[in-house]
């Protein structure tokens, strides 16, 4: 085995996945080539060092950012402010009616959408809207995450 051949199998050398015969060939080459032996040693040390590093933790608000981004891409497009206010008021009324009236169906639970609701001068929040069986044009709104509340 020459240097080029050794370097072709270097990853298998450090993983220990060579066949016994190939492993013996590689060891023979290492004994005669300090460059390749040094590279194998460095690769082993590097892989051990890298594998030991802790996984960096994401920012605590990453989940909320994902929800907001998904809500913005969901079926309910983030509306203009006055429309949001109207939509929130309407949804709240429907939600109240829903609480008094019909329970949610499993189908409605499966088709919830996350929306980003902006209330003028009151902040915004993420909510889940489930279709209303009685009024397909409206929905039941559950607040999920308070985004800001000045």
């Amino acid at each position: 085995m020459n240097c080029a051949g050794y370097r072709d199998v270097l990853m298998d050398v450090i993983d220990g996945t060579l066949s016994p015969a190939a492993r013996e060939e590689a060891r023979t080459h290492e004994r005669s080539c300090s460059d390749c032996a040094g590279l194998a040693r460095a690769a082993r040390e590097q892989s051990a060092l890298l594998a030991r590093l802790p996984r960096p933790t994401p920012p605590s608000d990453l989940g909320m950012r994902i929800e907001r981004a998904l809500g913005a891409r969901g079926a309910v497009v983030r509306p203009r402010r006055w429309r949001a206010w109207a939509a929130a008021a309407a949804a709240a009324l429907v939600a109240a009616a829903g609480l008094l009236g019909s329970p949610r169906t499993p189908d409605a639970e499966r088709s919830v959408e996350v929306v980003d609701v902006v209330l003028p001068d009151r902040g915004s929040f993420l909510g889940r809207v489930s279709p209303s069986a009685e009024n397909p044009g409206a929905g039941l709104l559950d607040p999920l995450i308070l985004v800001e509340n000045p």
Binding site: L49, L50, P58, R73, R110
Partner: protein
């Protein structure tokens, strides 16, 4: 299959993962939420190691999950969802890194980064090692950096990396070899300082 670094523990077994993905494909947003909550740390970590800073990584992770959400209906289980997710994450991070060429300025940024926003580490010794490694990774080309991150920091097998990046296993190994050769100088002192 290859040996080498221990694979990081998966949040779901294959059957549970597939069941969640199928529910998410049917429009179950709670199922999709369970998926991103389980995988956001991996996606963030991959993006961070490739892009080099936390804010960019958070943006990338957010964009990856939106992309995955949009493309999920077309996912046909040709691979595990997690492998596909790594594919989306790695490609997105590669594109971003190529667009902005942020890695060229990585060393400066890592040196300036405050300890309070550095990756969580239990001890200063680990944080020091983490920053040095991050700087060394920044010295690799994006192609070499990605395979190094997926192999050693995320614990993927050669076969999974090949599938995620649409490469042959031989190409994955040759890129890792080049990465080791390139990192030899950059990490030599660190290995001596903190041990392998």
């Amino acid at each position: 299959m290859s040996e080498g670094p221990e694979p990081r523990e998966a949040p779901f077994d294959a059957a549970a993962e597939e069941a969640l993905v199928r529910r998410a494909q049917a429009g179950d947003r709670d199922a999709f939420r369970s998926l991103y909550q389980a995988y956001q740390d991996r996606v963030f970590a991959t993006a961070y190691r490739i892009a080099g800073d936390r804010e960019t990584a958070a943006d990338l992770a957010q964009e990856v999950f939106v992309k995955v959400f949009e493309e999920l209906p077309g996912f046909r289980f040709g691979s595990r969802f997690s492998t596909w997710l790594y594919r989306v994450a790695a490609n997105h991070a590669i594109n971003k890194a190529s667009e902005t060429a942020r890695h060229a300025r990585l060393n400066e940024r890592v040196a300036r980064e405050k300890p309070s926003v550095a990756p969580a580490a239990p001890a200063a010794r680990d944080r020091f090692a983490d920053e040095r490694v991050q700087a060394a990774l920044g010295g690799l080309s994006v192609k070499l950096r990605v395979v190094t991150v997926l192999r050693y920091l995320e614990g993927l097998s050669y076969e999974e990396i090949a599938e995620a990046l649409d490469l042959s296993v031989g190409t994955v190994k040759s890129r890792l070899f080049l990465a080791h050769a390139t990192l030899k100088e950059a990490l030599n002192d660190l290995v001596k300082d903190v041990g392998p």
